[in-house]
Subunit: 344 residues, 2 copies
């Protein structure tokens, strides 16, 4: 890595997380898909927010959590995603900059501030996106995402020089839910490949994979070097119940396929090599939000430093273990120190 370059450039939906505890009964009563990410509109977001208990707010967004983790490890990542010029947007932006993440995507303007153009029938535009995360007593998180201003991210928001300067460009599968973002996604892949850089993709969510299976498979075949998925996402991608078969498929199409399996650890398939690692022990699992995002952070951090796959996977497991020990998807301690302690 050149000293001026980025290790990872991530592109994703910029979201603030609103985290509350909830019972299984609450999920059932409000028809919330357990353990999944469900896209919701503004009305449903307002309704659910009224229904949930007291909450805590923290910057989130899957790929954003990953670069936050890389920054906490001492890396030099960049991020692209769209917030609004509002209070939640300011929180998201602050946290990125405070961690040392390069984040220069201009916010969607608050149109009410353009006094000279104000018309009575003109709205201020969608606010910063947010994810209502309900954590059940088993530490499972069920996510309800109102994308808000994040939907305004498109190809024009790509900064080609940043992608060219990043060893790995990392894309969040959730972007596939919007055509404009998908277009940006493909344009980013083109830029990265032309610059001889690597492309990584995380599949994000089973239902997201089911919505876009064929397109994901085509993209992975053509443009993805490093694939991150959890076991269920990988099975959904290759429409099989056989994990070995799914891993064999992934191995054919990308250089490195990382399959995370919660408390069962992870499988890394690369060429003829297969590495299985155990999960890092955790005293008490509080909230699994961000586990996959932080596994990717640890993995990519060591990968962009030329470490072997075993070391990549091990640091991924250490970072994931930190995040599930507390509420929220951002590290609560220096991952750099943690990595040193764990010799990862």
């Amino acid at each position: 890595m050149s000293s001026s370059g980025f290790d990872v450039c991530a592109i994703g939906n910029a979201l603030v997380d609103i985290i509350a505890e909830a019972s299984e009964d609450f999920l059932a009563a409000h028809k919330i898909a357990r353990g999944a990410m469900t896209l919701i509109d503004a009305e449903r977001a307002a309704y659910l927010y009224d229904m949930i208990g007291p909450a805590v707010e923290t910057s989130g967004g899957s790929a954003a959590n990953t670069v936050a983790g890389i920054a906490s490890l001492g890396g030099h990542p960049a991020y692209m995603g769209k917030v609004k010029a509002d209070q939640l947007g300011a929180i998201f932006r602050h946290d990125m900059h405070a961690m040392g993440v390069h984040f220069a995507t201009p916010p969607a303007p608050d149109r009410r501030q353009e006094i000279h153009e104000v018309k009575a029938d003109r709205r201020g535009g969608a606010p910063t996106g947010r994810c209502l995360i309900l954590v059940t007593p088993d530490a499972q998180r069920s996510m309800n995402t109102y994308l808000g201003a994040a939907v305004e991210f498109g190809p024009a928001d790509l900064q080609p020089d940043v992608i060219q300067d990043a060893q790995v460009t990392y894309l969040e599968g959730y972007l596939f839910d919007r055509d404009e973002a998908k277009e940006a996604f493909r344009a980013a892949a083109k830029i990265a490949r032309a610059a001889g850089r690597q492309m990584a993709l995380t599949l994000s969510d089973v239902f997201c994979v089911e919505r876009h299976g064929a397109e994901f498979r085509a993209l992975i075949k053509d443009d993805v070097d490093i694939l991150f998925a959890n076991q269920n996402e990988l099975l959904a991608l290759y429409e099989t119940q056989d994990l070995q078969q799914a891993v064999a498929e992934a191995r054919k199409h990308c250089k490195i396929a990382v399959t995370t399996r919660s408390e069962k650890g992870a499988i890394i398939a690369s060429g003829k090599d297969t590495i299985e690692i155990a999960a890092e022990p955790v005293a008490r699992v509080v909230d699994t939000t961000g586990a996959g995002d932080l596994f990717a952070a640890g993995f990519l951090f060591n990968l962009t430093r030329g470490r072997d796959l075993d070391a990549c996977a091990r640091l991924g497991a250490v970072c994931a273990a930190e995040i599930i020990g507390h509420y929220g998807p951002r590290p609560q301690r220096s991952l750099k120190e943690l990595a040193r302690e764990k010799a990862a």
Copy 2:
């Protein structure tokens, strides 16, 4: 308590807390008063926010934390305080309502929404107040408060029927920093006394006491039945270094004087009685924000249920112990269940 009435009505500065870890060096470099609450203006708030690390946001405000605690214990409290009709204000309001706190103070309007009145030179008004809380490795919190819309709270915002319906009206000493709020404070005391209700006051902060010592002493003599202070605040109030002497003074002027002493527990003086209780053990003290607020919550909850002072103090200690075991000043578990477990 009648079934329709409130146990406690609290009046305070409505704030959202922005919590970040900080080193001692950071406090020194930015001239932040250690362990204190410092009032800051919008410019300083923006500057400090730029400087601090990644943060987590949660509803706060001293008296608001206390009623949140009472609600979590299963009580029926009310709150009065001013937020703005903005995103942080919506978060504050949501958390109050989600806990079952009666909170009906109208927000300061976002004047930009009054399209027909918009003029180019008119600002939207101050946003919801926020408190930048820096937590050092010793779990001490140093608070930097930008009051924002909270300064718009005045006598016109009092709801006399709510005060008349509350067994105890609880006031936050921080309100003494603003004349309008002080006026509301005195008007609330008048309403409560006329209705034969009790008045409680928390002194809030040593520097706040030093700013308003004479006025606090006069108010306590005339209008306060139940006084909450930590040891340093009580010493500052009576301008002495002798705790026994300070407690003796407080005993003369109010029915119940509660002095909290961090890990040394608390002293309750009432008439001829003096009760000393030990602090509740805590596995690890993470963040002392809200310790005094939650002690008051437990104390007032049992007091308004006719329990003796020993039981009041013990529940105060249990609630304070919960809050200092994690980041943020709002309970992360049901205090009602905790009280049952601890038989408090």
